[in-house]
Amino acid sequence: MNERILVVDDEESLRLSLKFKLKSAGFDVDVAADGEEALEKLKARPADAVLLDINMPRMSGIEALTIIRQKYPQTETIMLTGFADFSTAIECLKIGAKDYLVKPVDTTELVTRLRSLVRSRSSERALQEVHQEYTGLISEDLIDPLKKIQTMLDQASKLAVDADKDRKKLISNARELMDKMEAKLKLLVEFSKRAATIGTPGGTELSPTQLAEQLKGIRKGTTK
């Protein structure tokens, strides 16, 4: 999954050239012509980082930055300006911008800064996803079925002596759930062994995103 960057500038040629450059560098890039359009785009699809021009009609970059920091704290922002102004730069950084670049921007430098900024953000997000999938697997795929099995066994023990057919059905359903749990637990053990080697010499080189995908696969039953 490529990191998503939203370029916000009122000048079409600047939007286009930044889009070209960042796409070539492997980012997923969208553009907006002003602050209002940027907020609409973020609402529809969040971005890892926003490149935000300061001087724009309708809504200034600083106004947009303030709203983005409030509504999308996970999204990093780099301010762009054609006119270096120290006090404005300080104001932007105080509001929460990560950087302040003067146009024309050296795109090699911009790509380097963006990579460092969004890769760490992206890893954090992927780790959160790993945690969510792991918690979901334990609670929804293991504990919930276990409770169902307990209920089934309770019901089976309370059935009349001659209700053999119903008892067999309950026990069969419980066994089916147990088989599914056992399969997932085996995969989870394998997954845990692999994950434990991350960062060790010769260990697995799975990224947090790949780990999250593997957990999703275990939960959906697509990982064998």
Binding site: E12, F20, N55, M56, A84, P104, T107
Partner: protein, 256 residues
């Protein structure tokens, strides 16, 4: 009947009309043969137009040259808009010998077009390479139109080189180098203008020119391929039939 004498000059008249009713006019006059700018230098020339004042890092001009030719050409325009904001709205009319263009646009966009002409016609040895494009100046052009004009101009130069028996660069390998060099001049010019102005209109106008240079690589590598469907007729049959279009071709069924 005697043929009408060809004009020796090309004039581009830029008229900026602002929301408060004020107007500013600038006339750019070029030699119609060489496309060299017929300069109307300020007197005295501002300090920031001196060559050594924030000289571009790739400037090939010798120390004996006292003033940067581009900066001097831009001086009056820059002074006139030194306190203007880039996104200020303006109704811009451009009168050329052939036609009149009009657009309600931002000041930076209007300024960008006129600054582009000054930069390529002022005898700067780096930006000179873009001079032929000014003969086909297209005010308010978007990026794709500018890229297309740029590529067309460069390929025309290659064709003329080929006709002289010299080695043409059909793959446009050196066009990217031209724009890299031009962008160093654009960058140098923004540094000058930052010192000469109070608001961002002039600077952002040059930044727009810089963005074209930044995008040209991508246009050559990917953008041109996106235009291929428009050239489908050439892709299908590179050589046009000598007696006109083949009307039996299903593509021309509407003609039959």
């Amino acid at each position: 009947m005697a043929l009408k004498k060809e004009a020796t000059e090309i004039q581009y008249l830029y008229k900026f009309k602002f929301d408060d009713g004020t107007e500013k006019n600038f006339e750019v006059v070029l030699n119609s043969t060489t496309l060299e700018l017929i300069r109307d230098d300020p007197n005295p020339k501002p300090e920031w137009t001196k060559l050594k004042y924030s000289q571009c890092e790739n400037c090939p001009l010798p120390d004996s040259v006292e003033y940067c030719p581009v900066a001097v050409s831009l001086a009056k325009l820059v002074e006139s808009f030194h306190d203007a904001a880039s996104y200020e709205s303006a109704a811009v009319t451009v009168e050329t010998p052939q036609r009149t263009f009009f657009k309600k646009t931002t000041l930076q966009k209007g300024l960008s077009a006129i600054i582009g002409i000054y930069m390529s016609t002022s005898n700067c040895p780096v930006t000179d390479r873009l001079r032929p494009m000014t003969r086909f100046h297209l005010p308010f052009a978007n990026s794709i139109e500018t890229f297309f004009r740029s590529v067309s101009s460069y390929l025309t130069a290659q064709f003329l080189l080929m006709r002289q028996g010299r080695q043409p660069d059909w793959e446009m390998k050196h066009l990217q180098g031209i724009y890299r060099a031009v962008n160093l001049v654009n960058k140098g010019m923004t540094t000058r203008l930052l010192k000469a102005t109070e608001k961002d209109a002039n600077v952002n106008a040059v930044v727009i020119l810089h963005s074209f240079g930044d995008g040209i690589n991508y246009f050559i590598e990917s953008g041109l391929a996106e235009l291929e469907p428009m050239f489908a007729v050439f892709m299908k049959d590179p050589v046009a039939p000598e007696n006109g279009a083949d009307v039996t071709d299903p593509a021309h069924s509407h003609l039959s």
